[in-house]
Symmetry: D2
Subunit: 376 residues, 4 copies
Amino acid sequence: MLRYLTAGESHGIALTAIIEGMPAGLDLTAEYINTQLSRRQQGYGRGGRMQIETDKVELLSGVRGGKTLGSPISLQIKNRDWSNWSAIMAAGEADLTSRTVVVPRPGHGDLAGHIKYGHQDLRNILERASARETAARVAACTVGRRLIEHYGMEITSHVIRIGSVEAPRSSLENIKAHAPQSVLLCADADAEAAMIKEIDQAKENGDSLGGVFEIIVRHVPVGLGSHVHWDRKLDGRLAGALMSIQAIKGVEIGLGFRAASLPGSQVHDEIFSNGTGFIRGSNNAGGIEAGITNGEDIVIRAAMKPIATLYNPLRSINLENGQEDKAAIERSDICAVPAAAVVAEAVVAFELASAFLEKFSGDSIPEIDKRCRGEI
Amino acid sequence: MLRYLTAGESHGIALTAIIEGMPAGLDLTAEYINTQLSRRQQGYGRGGRMQIETDKVELLSGVRGGKTLGSPISLQIKNRDWSNWSAIMAAGEADLTSRTVVVPRPGHGDLAGHIKYGHQDLRNILERASARETAARVAACTVGRRLIEHYGMEITSHVIRIGSVEAPRSSLENIKAHAPQSVLLCADADAEAAMIKEIDQAKENGDSLGGVFEIIVRHVPVGLGSHVHWDRKLDGRLAGALMSIQAIKGVEIGLGFRAASLPGSQVHDEIFSNGTGFIRGSNNAGGIEAGITNGEDIVIRAAMKPIATLYNPLRSINLENGQEDKAAIERSDICAVPAAAVVAEAVVAFELASAFLEKFSGDSIPEIDKRCRGEI
Amino acid sequence: MLRYLTAGESHGIALTAIIEGMPAGLDLTAEYINTQLSRRQQGYGRGGRMQIETDKVELLSGVRGGKTLGSPISLQIKNRDWSNWSAIMAAGEADLTSRTVVVPRPGHGDLAGHIKYGHQDLRNILERASARETAARVAACTVGRRLIEHYGMEITSHVIRIGSVEAPRSSLENIKAHAPQSVLLCADADAEAAMIKEIDQAKENGDSLGGVFEIIVRHVPVGLGSHVHWDRKLDGRLAGALMSIQAIKGVEIGLGFRAASLPGSQVHDEIFSNGTGFIRGSNNAGGIEAGITNGEDIVIRAAMKPIATLYNPLRSINLENGQEDKAAIERSDICAVPAAAVVAEAVVAFELASAFLEKFSGDSIPEIDKRCRGEI
Amino acid sequence: MLRYLTAGESHGIALTAIIEGMPAGLDLTAEYINTQLSRRQQGYGRGGRMQIETDKVELLSGVRGGKTLGSPISLQIKNRDWSNWSAIMAAGEADLTSRTVVVPRPGHGDLAGHIKYGHQDLRNILERASARETAARVAACTVGRRLIEHYGMEITSHVIRIGSVEAPRSSLENIKAHAPQSVLLCADADAEAAMIKEIDQAKENGDSLGGVFEIIVRHVPVGLGSHVHWDRKLDGRLAGALMSIQAIKGVEIGLGFRAASLPGSQVHDEIFSNGTGFIRGSNNAGGIEAGITNGEDIVIRAAMKPIATLYNPLRSINLENGQEDKAAIERSDICAVPAAAVVAEAVVAFELASAFLEKFSGDSIPEIDKRCRGEI
């Protein structure tokens, strides 16, 4: 069983994660993880914080000489702006009266967190609820990504909507060729231009934008996940992991909501033989049937709502005096859909790694390699 | 921690579930659960099996004199058609050559299950992958529903799409008044009529249909779920539970995918005071912000693909001879969206019960009652 | 991950268990499980209930034609005395005024359970706290036993103490030859005779007895469990499972407490080569070092306190009137150490099966067989 | 649910732990944890490493201004000797040919770990199997200790055996007065003197020693743990946690193994009324009946085998050449029983904190305080 915990406040001294259950002998470097951390920080529409933080991970345990040991992997991302926050965020004696936040932002966890935990200073909620947390999640889950890449899986993502702009459907080849170069992870240049314009407009309005992205995983072995118990179904696990990413409000697999509109004869993927195995005439299922991978590409989309912090803030209540007030402003992005796509890639990779190790467990990568050569 | 396991093959002797973690002293009867089992069996477009099975649950443990004991609750739904299947499905010596299934159905788990588990007779897969399993899930999760209803929550659902027919948006009052009476759980009579027509047409075509339904939970306390760790976020847990229901391909909360198209100023729910507490000007978040309930209604929708078994079957491969063949036909429904909505109500209720007990734990209901009187 | 839940009250309609995570293709029959259930019921010193219940398991799911399907295995042990209890223990309307228990027994969970759960009738506690529950645990865990036996492991147990009588140390050959025939699972005839005498004396006194038993597992593969995280250490998992058996108050592995008295030079098992592999000069570690099996026999002992129900009852308080009173008497055994040994065999087997599947996972037994032929 | 993960190699850059599930508002400081880390490092018979490492914890998240936030608590213990190890233990390019270990030590996890994980350099096993890991466990679990101390519980321990020397039984007052001052956590001065002598002798012999310690927890609320399911029984959970500590080979609760020798009339703790509540005439159960705390002191003992590294090493096999060789020597202690007692205090405290939060959950300490004032 692969498992992980993350910890860390947005302006705390560091983000930390521990990943437990990875076999010994997997190639893993800080650089490999840093590539994903860097991707998470990019994208048109990001705010000032992104400049401060060039996130770098430090591997504190579980890896020696570039290979996993089999022991828990711990990693840390230091807050490069800590000197400006150490007085306020200190674990010990701290300045609890500066930079307090007392007007909850609609769309953020400020108000519900305040009521739940009883914190009067909303900073004590937002420091953990903010999407800064996803840096740790990307770092942790990228360890899982390393495993699935070792076993030949390939994960990619692209943005298909920002606000009102939707990109036209595109071939996977086109996506792989163009999305990585795009400042919005968008494979279509015209759509990208329109998205940029809409982001610029939102910025001017003090507003924010969300969007939709798609994750595609290729070369997935048949048989990850299982139909036998509800909590082992891979589609449920992927949906749960994606919906847990900050600001995600919708998830769909394969045809997704469109599958609800069509008759079965136009939805289900017919089965053919190609001589050595089975092939499908389509992939409307998005690679998962009955909670099990069927060997086709996993295709999964998620919808992100706009960023909750608006520079032209919405109406709210000041918790100190009970009066109507403008919602608080924490330094924020206008649009972070490409970043969310990178986070989504990571969590999808982790769930796949976890399901892979449930099927092909072993104490070391050479042992699993040997096994898989005969079987996958 | 509330947890449960289910077991049982579609044509096995019985479905069984064990629920562990329920406090003592909750009113619970078989009749209460049977009401939900009965709802699961209804709906226009169901196949012949529904007539055989008037599912009745038997409470085998954990309940005495109409109240939970605090011990594990086990329950059983006997297969009323067992006499016709006992030779084939026996745990001991069994007839393994009758009623075999050898042509996998596109859209079902047959083929992936075959490859994963090595079963040559697809019956060994479909007996567990089929939606018959959801009867056990409804029964188990309805125990959780009892808890949240005891604490004043109220859960309802309605169908908003069957195939190409979409129902117009409706008020909650209208939904509560009309959906329960509808054979399709649809609050709008005109839409229902059009849906019935589309189902009739699909039946005539040997085809099948899916749809979209919506779950609404009222009177939800603030603070269920938590933002502090990804796997405690209630939205992720709900999405995971819903996506694990057979044939569900999409899940969205509040505005869902529509939130991706709008600017933040039109999405986030402004906060006002009503004198004694906080109110919102809208509920686009669907009751959950940062993975925590905010006191507004939980609103969550799911898309169901069409039933995988087509009476006019799709093309597939016969596993015995490797030749192209028509997919197998197991007795099946044309459309089961209302049933899926009832299953979804149950699993949502269970996740809420689980989150409720994480926040308001206690060994007995009187103890929790006392606590909640002072606090919720 | 192998997991299970059990349910059922002592005098309820049935005990139930669900086991999830077993691969497909394992030979499993009700008879195999019944053998263990029967062993659990035997032993000199058992009370009248043992005659009523000739426990028989019914496999309700997860097994077809004598082989596991890969789906959850559910099983049930009916209460053969149910007709005498149905009015009292009914889930629905029940007679809650007969056979109430209001004087807690020292040594049982009656009093702590009463305070914790608020039940005024201690029956609501003892029906689940009683060792009757172990019948379900034996049935469930014997599914794990089937797996480890399939992979060549062999588990045995013998009683080494009843009350003041300790059996002399014995060779494994002697234990295997004589313990199974003994009414006290004791390999030494003289000790057995003395134990019987002590049980007879206890019975005459209205008293009860405990004892010590030992579990030995042979042919254990190297590498079950892991040192890398505390909750994966096999010794911890075995100790936890054993201590959770009713009335167990001590657990030790290998030399156990004696290891604390000796210098390291007399404790640690030196390593030699036998040409093809490693052998040890002794097995003081009891087959586990650093939480990992080392290939030597697992040797683990547990101490059982005397049965809590005394026919010559201890002093207690009547909960109805607060007055001093004699503790309640529920029909009970004088001594149940051999039964506890059988339960212990089962739970040890289950933990080993679980650890085995973490190391050698697979969806079906043929697949794991193939793997193990090349590797173990 | 309270949970934690630890990570870190003995000579790695740092040990790390993340604790998830602690409510907001608990007083917690690094100093509080450091006190326990310091206690773990003390004790007569410790080796040279103890001088290098004056372990200091740094709280990296989850605590602000001296109070928990409700978010995951991460903490780190830096390796003060890292500069001497950075070349060898680096996550990136590392010197893998220096300080290799190739002769497995009997009693350690070296050989089983080598076979399991395939590491040729045993350093890759021992760096995680060594008891250095318990520093992280003490730090993590001390967070749980803070909670139970806040709720009035008081945990203490003392050493009752080192090698052949057993301390006489002592009153709790005496233990609390004298054990903390003893270099061996022993309440009896004469026994301590004899123990020191035995340790000196072992050192002279190049040998090592184990022993037995006892943990006592006072003011435990009734009702922690539960009888309703095997894995919720507190005795099982405590035994599992203790047995998972390095070198522990036996665990017993209350009378423990002695309970097996006595009749029930001399074992079970009679129940009396003291006017306001229940009291017991004895505490042979060690505070736990049926897996539930009964309000009496929890009394639990554990046996530690001698340290596996001997300066006068045992016989083993050199893995490089297959020849008989003397076991490897890593800098080590002669005796570490007092340290193990401190680790045991911590893990017991954590399990109690976990069980406490299952019974008295809440999002913040003020909320739980309010609840408990009315109830405990």
